[in-house]
Symmetry: C2
Subunit: 361 residues, 2 copies
Amino acid sequence: MDLDQLETPAAVVDLDIMAANLARMAAYCRAHGLGWRPHTKTHKSPLVAAAQLRAGATGLTVATLREAEVMAGLSDDLLLAYPPVGPAKLARLMRLDPWPARLRVALDSIDVLEPLGRAALVAGREVGVLIELDAGMHRVGVQSPADAVRLARAVASTGGVRYDGVLFYPGHIRDSVDDQAPALIALSTTLSHFLSALREAGLPPRVVSGGSTPSVWRSHEMPGLTEVRAGTTVFSDRTTAAIGVCDWSECAYSVLATVVSTTVPGQAVIDAGSKALSKEELRGSGGGFGALLDDPNVVVSGLSEEHGLLDLTRSARRPKIGDRVRVVPNHVCVSVNLQETVWGLERGVVVTSWPVEGRGR
Amino acid sequence: MDLDQLETPAAVVDLDIMAANLARMAAYCRAHGLGWRPHTKTHKSPLVAAAQLRAGATGLTVATLREAEVMAGLSDDLLLAYPPVGPAKLARLMRLDPWPARLRVALDSIDVLEPLGRAALVAGREVGVLIELDAGMHRVGVQSPADAVRLARAVASTGGVRYDGVLFYPGHIRDSVDDQAPALIALSTTLSHFLSALREAGLPPRVVSGGSTPSVWRSHEMPGLTEVRAGTTVFSDRTTAAIGVCDWSECAYSVLATVVSTTVPGQAVIDAGSKALSKEELRGSGGGFGALLDDPNVVVSGLSEEHGLLDLTRSARRPKIGDRVRVVPNHVCVSVNLQETVWGLERGVVVTSWPVEGRGR
């Protein structure tokens, strides 16, 4: 099918670029002896997860029970990088079908650990536990090496669970790739303190799970790391390009949109608004909420729910009503989450589509 | 069902507050002789639209073809406040079932008008047209009275369509209610010029459709207005409360969430992130991305995709793992669009639920 036949707004992925992005991640992890466990929150699609596994991913990461249910059949090595709290979520977790040969859960408190252990015992399961460390982001995670040791000991002495190691998310490293050195040094120091304390306590972590997309190509500099979870690299987006994690040409995902109004001088209005792109600020420089794939000087300077404003003042382009454009959003994960369907392209032609099965609850 | 039995995050609506919000809107419009045509983008639900019609709404507004399809059976007076561009959208529009006795479309250019007229002729339909005016927002709309007259004349001489009047969206009036006077004076001047020119050209608008939520209670001051489209007032949100359009107690919608981590001092982390609340900045003062329904001093100070950070530094509250809270988002329309289901409450008890049928494409 021709791209012109898609009704807009429509999410499209260039499959060749996606394949190259996967190959690059696989090669990086292979070169550094790191496991590659991509976070599937970015695409929420078993089809894309299967492509990641074919490219060399050693397992998958999920954040929600819905993602876990959708991905369980694809890999026997699944990580729920989110604490399952409450009986409903624990029941869904124990009912995963098929049950992955290796299922791990990240948590940072005994209040999450104890009900998890009980649920696993009742279900006759064993769940691997990774202690989540606060490596500087200050979102979640145990705060000190002593807390990590205390919780790791509790895991080791709790039925139904197995102590496997630690997990952290260096989400505070948001600088451009060139400016990350100081943050990486601080991270390494913090991480080393955690790891030493656990080793000294006789609880050496077999797994040290880390990796964010902004810091992805520096993952091998993080002490003790065994696996990388970065998710966004499958598609990339305007933010990852702005901070130098990828080239603009490596952006595989865009939202196809139609020009619907050109009355206001200096701008054109497209039918992709915040309900297709999401209104998230750009990290890095450039402003706005997205940019045209084939002319990144044309920025989406404003968003209403169903309107995107293209700022034409830095481009000679003058789109007409009915013209189509492709917009790279600031943050691909939240844009994908707004789609029912994603269309796959080869050389600009629609060759497949897939539902975003893992969205919702 | 008890609220505690809902799996989180879950969108909940207090039905008594919603009913009071609808009654207030109905009374305001009745008192000022204005039609009330709520924009259904806020809720995207036929069930809620039916409640609006029972409360006195004189018709419905939609932005997308999907919303039009979902709402067509509820009211015989439907406004598509968005230009339908491209053959696929025109075909869907002409196939609406049932065909509303009165269907209107807003547009601002001859490039949208001509294909619409042709499609209507081919389908044997007649579509009412409202000329969209730029009343100061500079998003879409004809730019001058002369342009409005030119386009209205084109409508009047085009087959398949009927000239019904004008539409504007005063989305640039975003100040708090107390500070709106200067913007309203400017709007009135602009609007009067448009309306005079159309009357002098022998094209008096029967319909002058306007009204945004921030300016909703000043709609009767807008010259010539015949109907109000404001949508958000059905639920209200943190922004409408912050700018004084409603009291906090009139917020009918919130997202029920569970505390999943409390390790970082001064904060608690809930399982409602940007994929449940949406990461839109607050208009008005207060910062953050939402606040607790029962303690608005507790602000959602940060959002990741599945994590919301509650800032506890201005409250004595110290939630524990597993505790549940209700968050009022900054912008309810985009939060509803992230839900599959909304749960309806009476006196804190879940009495019903409905799917968000109109989301998607």
